[in-house]
Symmetry: C7
Subunit: 93 residues, 7 copies
């Protein structure tokens, strides 16, 4: 199991050619975001005053993210992305 | 439905060639802003002390924004823009 | 009506070739500031502790600003500039 | 014995060609992270208010990290990496 | 009258070829500072906690400043410079 | 005697070709750290709240540091390095 | 008299070819620091919370500084350097 650190989130990325939950990416968009499902969520970012900021996404959320963000890893034969929560754009509800 | 994260805002952009609410963009402006309607508003930016700063725009507001800002997405056949609130310039009232 | 967001200010720029309130811009100045009248004032910048810093200019003030600053917009046939208060240099009293 | 300073962590890096704990690195990943075992952990980063932020990894943890991060050292014939905790991506549990 | 905003200061610059108050600028200095008299002083910089930092110069002070700093303006036939207080190097007493 | 200011530390650098305390530097390391003995320690860095952060190294500590860091000085015929504590990587115990 | 502003310090630089207080600068040093005597000391840097951080050097201190730092001025026929305290490396006691 992957337990992301800080404000990182483990994502199972969807095929960016497909339509997911009604979202189709604009073909000519300069910065094409992609959709993914949240698999695991870190504890949150440590603020300057020592507090940990609560995360705003949870396991199972469908999210839009900037496809240039994060690190790609492979685990038990599946590919995952680890991104910072600040690189997530929106939850697709 | 798109639920933007942090201080992000979902916009339905107007055609920048048109006049909207009395605003016509200057043709020779170096950084041409465009107008849009706010569709959805994130919870707000987390400050260094852990507080969440209230958002200053709400659904239905007409806003001016920098057209180079944000990520373009398509949802149920419509194009949207997701920008940070700090990239909004003014509310057109 | 334009309601600027954050610490932004809507200005009605004066013709930079003219003399306004006694100010004539130096012809050979590297960064020529220009004069304008304040038309509308945003609520102020949100500080790191969640407070909103009061604005130091008000409607009707004549101000000097860096002419490379801000976004130019046209509203009901008039051109305006939207700049951040920190880009204003001085009030001409 | 190596006692890392601040929020630094001493790692014993695994051979990045091998499979470790089920993780296989994607061959075509732009920024390939690698796996390692945590050997020693610094006291933590000093925050702006003087507090020391607790570390989130401990000796023996298997971690993913960005392979371009940190300083390589050799100690008693073994190679180690010293990286900042913020450069660790996830704990592999 | 020019009322500078924030931590800005209005200066009446001296001829940098002259000797003023005993100061002669080094001819081969890489960053030649120049001398000026303080004409007007802004209210001060707003700190992150909302406080306004008191200004350390007052009208009439002779000051050294970096000659590349600030904006040059002309007012009632005289040239002035508007610089930030942090760009002033020293008071010449 | 050299009394470093702020969070600076005076180091007596070891010959980076030698083995010191069991540490041998990897010959092919991109950023080769070197070992040194701490000779003098500054009072510590002033934090944003006015507190001084305690130093984590003391005279006599053997430390690893980035060899590109700091300023080289000669004192009574010996060469020293003055580096910031944040440029020290680990204590070799 | 020169009264430096903020955390600035007025220095009377020594001839960098000479030996001063036992310090001889390494001839092949990449960033050669030089020695000087402190002539005047500013009130200190204003911190984010409005406090003024006390200065750590006083008139008469012999100090090491980075020779590329600061502004050179001439006063009553003598050359001085005005640098920020953070550009001072160590006190030579």
């Amino acid at each position: 199991m992957l337990k992301p650190l800080g404000d990182r989130v483990v994502l199972k990325a969807e095929n960016e050619e497909q339509t997911v939950g009604g979202i189709v990416l604009a073909a000519n968009a300069k910065d094409k975001p992609t959709t993914a499902t949240v698999i695991a969520v870190g504890p949150g970012k440590v603020l300057d005053n020592g507090q940990v900021a609560a995360m705003n996404v949870k396991e199972g959320d469908k999210v839009l993210f900037d496809k240039y963000a994060g690190n790609e890893v492979e685990y038990n034969g599946d590919k995952y992305l680890v991104v910072r929560e600040s690189e997530l754009i929106a939850i697709v509800d």
